[in-house]
Symmetry: C2
Subunit: 110 residues, 2 copies
DNA sequence: TTTGTACATTGCAATATTACGATGAATGTT
DNA sequence: AACATTCATCGTAATATTGCAATGTACAAA
């Protein structure tokens, strides 16, 4: 049905899924990478950088902002975006907590 | 159009997006967590554990398998799934490489 | 005020995802 | 052989995502 039954799962599971979904599109990965590289927090550049329409970029930026990964501030007539370092750290920890769970002993059950 | 323009992006960006998409649903997060906890690699249990139909679970398992995160082997009449440790490490490194890029100096541009 | 620039939002069309019943394939049990 | 169990796949309905043109909003310059 295309509708996710979020109520069946706990907060951690839903949070991990929500955050992952933000990274689940190459354009959004590219945006984040660009913001990491040019610490300068540009926006309009993205339209030139990636080959997507302005409306599409704006939409992706909003999704990243909704999850809290990036934040923007008005800078005259343009808008300046950058990574939200606190949230970034939060997500990093969340992912580490998941990925460090593999008992690295030789577990070849399959 | 619901169609992702993958050709606009490089391999790393597409890979990160593909892997993230695998984790972009709480049921798949729950499946992975369960496989991490019960190293025993069960399958039928998941249908009881999560509140989803058997066909739905099977579909999620296939998506995780397609990305290489899990692997399954036939065990009599049932199928045994588990984490693919090599791929797991690969993904962990890929994510670390992304998340370690934040220059942790006081960068409050916005 | 008019014009231009930079983004956001809206409204659509195309496609993808999620969920599940029904059915199929494979194996084990009686 | 006949049946049950376990899982995969197919078909379908409901919903979500992606992309963009068009339009709206806010500000700055002429």
């Amino acid at each position: 049905m295309g509708v996710t039954k979020k109520n069946l799962f706990d907060n951690v599971q839903n949070e991990l899924a929500t955050v992952s979904k933000a990274f689940a599109h190459p354009a959004r990965v590219a945006i984040v990478q660009h913001l990491l590289k040019t610490n300068a927090c540009i926006n309009g550049d993205l339209v030139a950088e990636l080959g997507l329409a302005q409306a599409t970029i704006s939409q992706h930026l909003r999704e990243l902002k909704d999850v809290g990964i990036i934040q923007g501030s008005i800078e005259g007539t343009s808008v300046s975006y950058c990574i939200n370092p606190l949230r970034w750290e939060e997500i990093r920890n969340m992912l580490n907590q998941l990925f460090d769970q593999l008992p690295s002993s030789g577990d070849n059950c399959c």
